[in-house]
Assembly symmetry: D2
Homo-oligomer: 340 residues x 4
């Protein structure tokens, strides 16, 4: 039987590269076409020596495929998606262009008017732990951002169970690959190495996405969310720390039970009672979630860990693809974390 | 004129090593004696090749000196301090043994009964920005912990000016040297490298010290402080993020003015309006403090950066020594940060 | 059909951990028993959270298995091997205890008399690229050291083709995991990080192993080999640079052809004309080999790159197992390198 | 007395930044003017927050100064030098534009015809350990490259004493700051981190400089030098390993004596019998030199370690300035290495 044909638009960034690696090891699909302006004409396996068994040539435009991953910068992604959607190609968009349900948020946070509001309405937010069923039936997936994935998975059980008050602080530490493969001083080795810093202190673009999803879980409350991102010198990994006051008193054991039961059947969530290490998720699609309580102040503290390029981007996209195409949800995502 | 003689008890840990480096470059004092059990009998310059111009021999017990730095583990430090105090030696204790004013906190947090409660009462908490005058007149200094230094300097102006509510979250990221030079898996290169993790989620020993000092600034309020420490793979550096609700509305410019004016004459505090980098403090005694406001939630967010081995330990100890001995407060601490 | 049962003696070091990870993903075998003194009694998945789907309990002694991997320190490995060999268990020994054919080298380099010289004679040096056939028929494999793997694969084509003179210099840079998981200052994060250093300048234990194998390729010449190892702050990876004078003049293209043709059918060797990066091998069983010529001096310069824990240890062991058991040589080793 | 006025042309690269830091702490001179195209108009202390006490404004063109440091790319440096030389300004050129005595090497290695061959003849190669006297009397200094500094200091005693044969291999590992502050994928954090690689395998531009100086030491022999550079993920540091056959047999003790006596009065050379760590030189102007012998092959192995931005660039430039201006050679360079 012919395999499903997939393609990657803009394979040369880190999300695109990681998609190529994962799809290369996926037995149910074929990676049939990859594009990338700067590297157009090169063999994929030459451009990315770690994938040197690949004979695919990087092209300017995408060949016809059954399902396309868009790993473009925002705005460009929407344009490309419109064209593919009209052709009936299934789309998983790694950019932010279909994540925000309120079109007014695009000019405010991304500086452009959304070009296809009807598509926005049809897009499904691709977090399988919340929207598995909708994803299965959809042909346009907005793949979540890396920070939102880590933060939403950390907070959702507490919010849905009504455990916490409306004051939430998310302090999230990211590896440098989160800043992308484009060149800039902030990702120059000598500036990032041996450094810890905050950025986007005026408001990071992932904030409205976090608010949108957390509010759905708790529509009654007016959530008051502060989200601060940090860069630390690792290549892969996000550790998100979420702080919120508990409405009532609760034992740690009860809290752990709430989380374990919420995520009982999830193939990629590991609820743990030990502080998670990003290294325990690196190279895998897992999200580690550690719920705990600061008893002195009766605050919930949930710490989650992901590999930002996998569960925070390419791996989650493949998980979405598996759902859309009716494959085993773990297909191509079985790799254990690479430790140490 | 004979120089003041100083000594370091336990020179072989990172705080002790850093003291040796700083005192080696200090023109007003002589490093006359250093102790260290495991390395006893070796030349300091052989044991620490980066200081190989030193001819001092590491000994078992301290020779008579005018001022002694104790870089021992807690509990051992108190025992040593008692002996030196009786001889009239001035003491700067890097450990926690004289930091907590309430003796009952020692059994609770450190697992031992404090052996000299009267000395505890006489000890001055060695944070020059708060206690400069008392330090100058004291002969027993409790050198602050690394996290408390970063957190207190970040929050003090807001607390003293009555700007913030009582709910405070401190999320502090530390380099691995903060875990000391003793061997353990958590500081094994292969486990710490490429990793981000939380630790001491049950309550870190620096918490009572932070509470003690912040409460002094705001005795009217019942502060509700959560403090979570994190390890990130850099050798030196702490970045402390402090979150608290503002009592009233305030412009960023006004906030900046409050902080700038609070620290106007401080030789080692740099108030900045750009997110600070630990690398901008590394190798120096500076503390960078960046006060800002999350306007969406009206929360104060203050981020501070220090070199944990300098302003967070050995450098602050030298600053205290300078005050005790009437030297220029910056003597021996003029080095600019080493960037990149 | 029942799967072949495998076991790991001393699963708690890095080679043992990596074996557990690889065998966990190997579809043809079952990981049935793991031992480890310090962690005895714990669940493997608790001790190694990155493998937390495992329900195996770490024990003191190995259960009966069909094939055992020994990841013990040298000398202990030989003792264990004797017992298993008598029971008829197939053995792949990761230590050095069966690598050196000349028993006299053990007292000289490892400080002990070899306890079972007849087993030594039967052991096959487990470098599939040289001894594939013997490995297939053997039940006792001496898995090569990490440096020898990188150096031998780099030099073998040139030696076998008689291209180089007898003066050889091997300058090999290793990541810190090569120093093992035992605690020591040299692998303390703060000492290893931001450092480059040589070690074992008096002669590294991998030297006799390198000499033994290279001499077999060129018995006529009296090889004069200098081997110097270096530690650099990465977790995984060896980059071995091999220098030797060329006997005659040769074009780079011809040299490349010699290497390509020598390794034509090798599933894990990638001959490349671009300087290899260890990161292009990390997480995989590949060895990248880049042969080139310094035309000014007519010297061969071959640079090879491996993941020291995979092709340099656990991966090569699995490759050997696959050969011994008649599986596809790549089974369980299909993972692409993890880049970036 | 008015201080000598110094200036830095192109302060925004790493060599320029490091010069600014060192001159800022130098008591005998004033940093009076700094240029930098991209940052022109900004305060130096704003552009480089680690130097935020500086009030100097970065300008397009250099004000009149007594001595100028040129930290420009090659070719541009020569143009600038011509203008300054005609005005009588003393010059220390950090680029390669005055290092090579044979003008024919410029087209070959740097791709341009040298514009002022008479100045080339007058320039002194600024390695104080070899040319102290000439430097003192010169007004145009060609500051050595980082690799040549490490390699020449490692090999010079052996060559001058006639100990080694003509076959020399230099395998030098460098931190990423050696690749400069310009943006490129090879210094992107995610590509350089956790990687070890060779580069410039066709011939690095520092090779003719190394040959020129080593040949002067041994004009009778036709030296046959291979030089291979490597990038490892540290910010600062070069570890150069130099291999050469010994002409006669020699004890390690005798060799050590040769080196110790050769460098007896050198303020910045530390001859050591333990493998040096780059970290033991980081942040300082020291060069550690460890001469040893591979007794099995009778080969000399000398390993040297420097901070590439200090002894390999800015620090050596300041050392040269001190000699030119008659200051204490160590002025402004007293800092001990920053360890850990």
């Amino acid at each position: 039987m012919a395999k499903i044909k997939t393609g990657i638009v803009n394979v040369t960034g880190y999300a695109g590269m990681e998609l190529a690696r994962l799809l290369d090891g996926h037995e149910e699909v074929e990676l049939a076409s990859v594009t990338g302006r700067s590297a157009s004409g090169q063999k994929l396996g030459h451009y990315m020596p770690h994938l040197d068994n690949s004979n695919l040539t990087i092209t300017q435009t995408l060949d016809d495929v059954d399902l396309a991953f868009l790993a473009l910068p925002h705005r460009e992604s929407a344009s490309e998606a419109i064209k593919l959607y009209q052709k009936g190609t299934r789309i998983i968009d790694i950019s932010a262009d279909f994540r925000l349900k309120d079109p007014a948020l695009y000019p405010e946070w991304y500086g452009f008017e959304h070009p296809c509001i009807d598509m926005l309405a049809k897009a499904v937010y691709g977090l399988p732990e919340l929207y598995r069923e909708q994803i299965s039936g959809s042909s346009l997936i907005a793949n979540p951002g890396c920070y939102p994935t880590a933060a939403i998975l950390a907070l959702m059980p507490a919010l849905k169970k009504g455990l916490i008050k409306n004051d939430i602080i998310i302090d999230a530490k990211s590896g440098i690959s989160g800043a992308g493969r484009s060149l800039s001083l902030k990702s120059h080795f000598c500036e990032a190495n041996e450094d810890i810093t905050a950025y986007a202190t005026e408001g990071h673009r992932h904030l409205p996405e976090i608010i949108q999803e957390l509010k759905k879980a708790e529509p009654a409350q007016d959530l008051c969310i502060t989200f601060n991102p940090y860069l630390v010198p690792v290549t892969r990994g996000i550790l998100a720390s979420c702080y919120a006051g508990l409405k009532t008193s609760l034992t740690k054991r009860d809290l752990f039970e709430v989380y374990s039961s919420f995520y009982r059947d999830e193939p990629f969530i590991r609820v743990t009672d030990m502080p998670p290490h990003t290294k325990q998720a690196a190279g895998s699609n897992y999200c580690l979630v550690c719920p705990t309580i600061d008893k002195r102040t009766n605050r919930l503290v949930v710490i989650s860990a992901i590999d930002n390029l996998i569960k925070g981007a390419a791996g989650q996209a493949v998980q979405n693809m598996n759902l859309m195409l009716g494959f085993n949800e773990k297909a191509g995502l079985e790799a254990s974390p690479l430790f140490p």
